[in-house]
Symmetry: C2
Subunit: 402 residues, 2 copies
Amino acid sequence: MFRVLSRASGSAARLGELVTPHGTIRTPAFVAVATRGTVKALGVDDLHALGVEVLIANTYHLALRPGGEAIAAHGGLHGFTGWQRPWLTDSGGFQVFSLGAGKVHGVGKIASIFPGEAPAKPTGASLVTLTEEGAHFRSVVDGSPVFFSPEEAIRLQRLLGADVILPLDECTSPFHDYGYTKAALERTHRWAERALVAFEKTRGLGPNPGQALWGIVQGGAFADLRRVSARTIAGMGFPGFAIGGSLGRSKDDMLRVIEWTVEELPEDRPRHLLGIGGVEDILAAVERGVDTFDCAAPTRLARNGVLLTFGEEGFRIAIKNARFARDDRPIEEGCDCPTCGRYSCAFLRHLVQTGELSFYRLATLHNVRFMVRLLARVRAALATGRPVSAALTDPFTDPSAQ
Amino acid sequence: MFRVLSRASGSAARLGELVTPHGTIRTPAFVAVATRGTVKALGVDDLHALGVEVLIANTYHLALRPGGEAIAAHGGLHGFTGWQRPWLTDSGGFQVFSLGAGKVHGVGKIASIFPGEAPAKPTGASLVTLTEEGAHFRSVVDGSPVFFSPEEAIRLQRLLGADVILPLDECTSPFHDYGYTKAALERTHRWAERALVAFEKTRGLGPNPGQALWGIVQGGAFADLRRVSARTIAGMGFPGFAIGGSLGRSKDDMLRVIEWTVEELPEDRPRHLLGIGGVEDILAAVERGVDTFDCAAPTRLARNGVLLTFGEEGFRIAIKNARFARDDRPIEEGCDCPTCGRYSCAFLRHLVQTGELSFYRLATLHNVRFMVRLLARVRAALATGRPVSAALTDPFTDPSAQ
């Protein structure tokens, strides 16, 4: 269940609460990425300490290893992973893109999420063939065939037991043309109908009877397709919505896609933006009415030595830089993360230079806490009637940020 | 300062306390290995939670990166790493072996520490040349020359500021003959004298004026050499002693080496056994009067998926084994480590199978806690007048184990 607590004046932003069978998520919220059931390099104890409220896992990867049945046998994701708070699962639709057109086109969902980040290079032939029936994958583990129909994606997600699950969709590429995107969209709508039927038919399967199936809006960066998709998916009665697929070739494209979509979605339902996590992107999307975000970038950047800070151009520093070799300060003065509380930039640089495993955790702790703080600042701004952008400038005083 | 609190009847074991400028270590104790300033995959917060009381770092590796001066500038190891409790540093003498004869002979300090563990394979030519003046290394980072004299090893350790430091020595190989071992030993004794002089001359250097310089006993697996070395080093007045070098070609050799050495050392001073951490080895060494141990095996095994348990043959399980795929139990029933408190064998196996970074930390947490518990059990047995071997069989009730 989703409650809007207050609305901003002058933007579509709203402060809310998403109530799930495993707890309440304060929105706007960042959903930490735990593709295979763990946030890379962190434990559940860490996530609690960071104030993380919700995780997203990936149905495709978990279906390969250890399998939906194995996870169900351990009480679903909540029991298996030890994260007893809210879970989302993506349907495998993103892998339709990332293992398919994403590889062939050598591109991400958008040209560049973080400034300076190089677009992905082509990594080979597609591992995906789509038919009306579903998505025929090759396993990234052993190359064996893996078939996801809309029904199978629901069955697997019933077994995983996340609190919010998604229908199988086709996430298209920024380089797909209008005709392809339209045809893909229409198939995705047919798959959404099948997912709803499968969702009803599988009531009672798996560990979490209170699961919610949200719809995914597609349509690439084409205004009419986005609007048609949002109206179509909204018309199916989903209790929440995800904005998926290609977001175009620029940040401006992305914001337009969000505007077109949100305008067609019901006001009283939550909206999730799939795979976006840049600081300015999040603020702009919140202003346009998005409630939740997931993105692997903060954790992936951490493992590459890129640490997020409010005080720097581009909100990031490269800790490998020689200027940190003798820097006794924490990553960011005033940051309340466990890493900044105890370690200097000089020590963190030493760890990354020597390839110490400890680095991955300490860096990830900081970046995830940065995202939690960012969204807490956004909520604090909304709660006090300030514009969303005040999240970057207001002194941070929200006592509930923890 | 070292205090013997009580002595076992029927063995040379003793319960004690080692007081350092950064806190007291209850002995017998396990010293966790933090070669480059961090226990691999763990943070300082983790170490506190595990009940670890003391760490050992390596002067050679830290001298290469980030350098003694850099660490001194951050308050020494205590300030730089965030571990504000007792530190030991090894002198670089072990690298004389591991980068020298250890590589050429393809052997460790002893044939096999843990049952079934393959001895190291020859890994190439020696990176060390020894002269009377000191040890001429090649850097493992970039191949550049690195010179450690006994004086330089002391100077560097003054800069690092560990609470217990060691003189440069030559750690010989089990395959060195009597003649070589004897000549090396005599040089090591001359180096120990030089280290003592250097230690006095450098008073005031570095962040920790309360450092203690312990002596290292060498002599391979030759009875007369070990006894001569122990008497010679003890005669120099060191406040504590480490048993270094080759421990022979078998566990029996190792135990004899310990017996010969301990018999010649003063009763009132602490004794550290360098680089040994097998369960039965520790118990046997405690019975022979050893107080502290360090060993990289528990953490290295963890990273390789080998988890220590009291309940299994050989005190270990391989979590990758298929039998754990559906095992809902913790690694060990009754283990109070953070990993066993939250995660099943099935989940840990999933993490190791999928190569998740989180695995390294969760496995290391368990294995380090195992070592802490083992030594706490040893102390509990000694405190209640039970034989050391009771550590493996008595119900574990020591409330101070944390």
